[in-house]
Amino acid sequence: MIEGVSIQMILTFTTLLFFIGLYGFVTRTNLIGMLMSVELMLNSEAINFVAINMYLFPGKLEGGMFSLFILALAAAETALALAIILQVYKRTGSVDVKEVKELKY
């Protein structure tokens, strides 16, 4: 519980963060930028869980634990994604998302 900050404000913030992440994902041309956007989205959810737990269901632990796992998985995901991006870079010579549209139709 943070004084002077209501749950609505936090949720509005996280929602904004989520959509910024989403927007980033669809507009970035750089794969790493896109990955960062995804991280943004995941982080917004992590905050979400913590805040909801704290504000609405103070007696419980689930939300907090959930956000911990989200962080862990986000890290794993980033690692994997970066590895694959590296591979893409090796094959295409760039990390531009426009380069990865050979498979289509």
Partner: protein
Amino acid sequence: MSWEQLFSFMQNEILIVLAILILMMADIFTGKEKKHYIIHLANFLFVVVFLAGLNVLDKEGTLFGGSFKTYPLVAFFKSTLMAGVLLIMLQSVTWIKKELIPHGFVSEFYILMWSSLLGLFYMISSGDFLMFYLGLELSAMPVAGLAAFEFYRRRSSEAAIKMVMLAAVSSAIMLFGISLIYATSGSIYFDQIQMASEVPLLELVGFVMLLSGIAFKISLVPFHFWTADVYEGAPTVISNYLSVISKAAAVYILMILLFITLRRYEETWTVALYILAVLTMFVGNLFALRQQNMKRFLAFSSVAQAGFILLGVIGGNVLGIKTVIYFLLIYIFSNVAAFGVVHMIAMHSGKENIKDYEGLYRTNPRLSLLLMLALFSLAGIPPVAGFFGKFFLYSTAASKGFYILVFIAVVNVTISLYYYLLPVRAAFLRRSENPIPHFKSDIYSKIGFIILALGLILIGIYSPLYEYIARLSEIL
């Protein structure tokens, strides 16, 4: 929660972890020239895990305060998935020998695939959203790695990046939905969410986001776009795995969520599933119609199949569960067989296009026959198993009075029959100047193919199997 309970309820998962560990150790101690022994070991280990899994089919109970549940149906389903993975593993031997051993890795493939399977197991056994989420991610990430396995091919990397990025976005969106559900219900346990009485708008939004996340995995339209690209780019074995195992598991958890946790919204999700089913069938079929690449073709076919599966889900009760699980079993056999043949041909001749299959029957009659059986099963033509599966799906939808949906589905079957007949036409009807030459599959593949062929013919006709599933499904 005693140790005995832990070991018996979670036996499959624990054994898989053990198998993974054994394989890791073995990998360390085998030299570069002896890597192919790993293959035998891995197959042996998995057979052991599978057979051991048959022992715990009747266990029922919960672990970790309801996070992990097991009951006969899910145990059976896990065995089914393991059978599917085993069949895929049998097929992958050729690939491993040809593509992986030269690059020095073998066990990695098995480890990643088993990890993914482990994730799926946790996902379908989950009793809360946390376990569900963990399982989902655990199942998705290794596959993305597997998709990138043929790292020397550009397409493999492209498939992997598409998979990992889109999966990340999808799980992010789903997670946001889960957080909203958590916000309104105050719990992440499926059972407790079910209790809540009022339906706030926020929860609906959350629910839709959750649904879309699962839909992504099942590849329902419009969440399916990754499917074809990934299937085409990834190694065939991985496409095979994605198209059957991970999809089947996702369908299972979707049903559990819908039927137990979200029973309250039945009317609403019925409408949603209706629309998704129609869209999925049409889009999947219309895209599959003009594909030339067999893998891409099967990708869209499996999108369309997902639409048919929804026909059973929409039945929304025991009927739905049993028909869908029965169908999934058949679907696993059919699709694994189809992908298996495609894989085998690609391995031996490097050809993946329908046109290349011309005259196949005259050089490789048995493989062609298996391909035909598999495709007919996918299309739903008796006496092959697929017909029975599909028929029960239709019946389920019809039992709720969705005759128009059934009609749309059967119209789609007709469309799908057209494209399923295209490879058959190429293989049987046409002759070619330079057909794919005759080749011999290795023993593993042969065993796999024989099991598949028998399964395709017998699963449908042999009704006790269906009755067994039906009995297990009385969990609601």
